[in-house]
């Protein structure tokens, strides 16, 4: 199992939806971290995602763009994505965000939109 620790690997302050929002936003997380990590998994391998290692919180904009965007832009189906990720946390209050991620992924429509970057991926 591979691990993506959001606080250590990505940012202690993930917030915002698009590259154009500046900071460590959902689009940047999806394009530069989550998508490559999912694509690098072997068949039947899972991605262990740690939510709360130093991260204070998440806004809906970050979570929906970062996670549900994988389905919305047609990178993976919602069922496949949910099968490939294991969401973990040590602070019990983070269950709230785990549930949100799962709901957003489930409600997202596969390939609903064509992905157009709001800024270069190197941002």
């Amino acid at each position: 199992m591979k691990t993506l620790n959001i606080g250590r690997d990505f940012s202690l302050d993930p917030a915002g939806r698009f590259f154009s929002d500046e900071g460590d936003n959902g689009e940047k997380f999806r394009e530069n971290f989550l998508k490559p990590a999912i694509q690098a998994l072997k068949p039947d391998e899972k991605l262990h995602i740690i939510l709360d290692d130093g991260v204070e919180s998440y806004g809906s904009s970050f979570l929906s763009e970062g996670f549900a965007g994988m389905v919305k832009y047609g990178y993976i189906s919602s069922q496949n994505l949910l099968e490939k990720i294991v969401i973990d946390y040590s602070d019990a209050d983070f269950e709230f965000y785990k549930n949100k991620i799962i709901t957003y992924i489930k409600n997202s429509k596969f390939k609903e939109e064509e992905y157009k970057p709001t800024r270069s991926k190197e941002s």
Partner: protein, 379 residues
């Protein structure tokens, strides 16, 4: 076709030049009249505010001093408090200043005895905008300020705004006053969510303990900042990049144990930004539940924007941010969240887990969006 004579050619040139001059004169008259309209309109607006009770002193027929009232508070004295905020915003805006146009000379704090955390933040933000417009040439004169007010504004970091420091007399020296429980204001731009950590650290110092359910407040603040970059300041060239700011502070009253967090942006407001947003179609679905005559009211548009994610049948990944802002109060099962935007108020109060929503209409708008979280700490 006939070849023009020299005489006819000269006549045509003269006519063309004359015509060109007339057009230019017409343009000049048009520009002068539109600039005229701007300052006359602004003077009229200020006169209306004066008739409503705005206290000013006028010198040289155009130099205005705004005399702040004894108390400024958006929840108890909204109608009076907002007059002063609007007047400062209107007068601070740079327009061509013909001889008769009102000019903001100073803002007099001498009468001010009480100010709420949110009014102090909004006043600071508006004076910061004015200072920017004058290329930071303002200088605070604090000699006759009330000592508590002076202390409050020192703690808020108000004087950090000015390049020229105030001359604080020894009678009002901050060292002789008790510590106030107000966090120095934080000014941020789009994408600067990590600045909210400063607020948390400062509040923990004041309260003395971690704040239960803070993570939900942080999520709400992150969304407030995202909303600033998506909606508050549209990219239509009307607002300069330097003015696309948000302001944040917090306070804790040790005797009542009330914690207050205040966030303010000076943008176009939620009701005005809603029709141009990607959630407008879903908002229309929610608005259809209201009587037709009420659908354009700011408080109704605001309520629709907040309750969109809960009430719309169309599940989209947009429009969830305002619901995030309610979560801190919901998770704590007590307190309130107020959102004041343009002429509307949306207030969610929670007591023992029971929720009550209130909407209100204001005659005079707040120029932006003000978000206030209030909770009583039990420690």
């Amino acid at each position: 076709m006939k070849k023009l004579s020299k005489k006819q050619r000269l006549l045509d040139v003269k006519t063309a030049i004359l015509h060109r001059h007339k057009e230019k004169e017409k343009d000049n008259k048009k520009n002068a009249s539109s600039s005229n309209k701007r300052w006359v309109g602004r003077n009229d607006e200020i006169d209306v505010l004066i008739n409503k009770g705005l206290s000013i002193s006028l010198s040289k027929n155009r130099d205005l001093t705004i005399n702040l009232p004894e108390e400024m508070n958006f929840s108890k004295k909204y109608d009076e408090t907002i007059l002063y905020i609007i007047a400062i915003r209107r007068l601070a805006a740079t327009i061509a200043n013909p001889y008769k146009a009102y000019r903001l000379k100073s803002v007099n704090f001498n009468r001010l005895k009480k100010i709420s955390t949110s009014a102090a933040l909004v006043l600071t933000a508006e004076l910061s905008k004015w200072d920017d417009a004058t290329r930071q040439r303002l200088r605070p004169m604090t000699d006759n300020w009330d000592a508590d007010i002076l202390k409050k504004f020192i703690d808020l970091g108000f004087f950090d705004l000015f390049k020229t420091p105030p001359n604080i007399s020894s009678n009002n020296s901050p060292s002789t006053l008790p510590r106030s429980d107000l966090v120095r204001y934080i000014k941020g731009r789009c994408g600067e969510a990590k600045k909210t950590r400063e607020l948390k650290d400062e509040l923990i110092k004041i309260v003395g303990d971690p704040i239960d359910k803070w993570m939900f407040l942080r999520g709400g603040l992150d969304e407030a900042i995202t909303n600033v970059s998506h909606h508050a300041y549209p990219d239509n060239g009307m607002i300069s990049e330097n003015n696309k700011n948000w302001y944040l502070t917090g306070s804790y009253n040790g005797s009542s144990k009330e914690l207050k967090i205040v966030f303010y942006d000076q943008g176009i407001g939620i009701p005005k930004s809603l029709p141009a947003s990607k959630i407008w179609e879903r908002a229309l679905e929610v608005l259809s539940l209201f009587p037709a005559g009420e659908r354009k009211l700011d408080e109704v548009l605001l309520k629709a924007a907040v309750e969109l994610d809960r009430t719309s049948t169309n599940k989209s990944d947009r429009g969830k941010g305002l619901q995030d802002m309610l979560e801190f109060i919901r998770q704590r099962r007590e307190g309130y969240l107020s959102i004041l935007s343009s002429r509307g108020l949306y207030k969610l109060s929670v007591s023992n887990g029971k929720e009550l929503v209130k909407s209100e209409h204001f005659d005079d708008p707040i120029s932006g969006t003000l978000i206030i979280w209030s909770a009583t700490l039990q420690n």
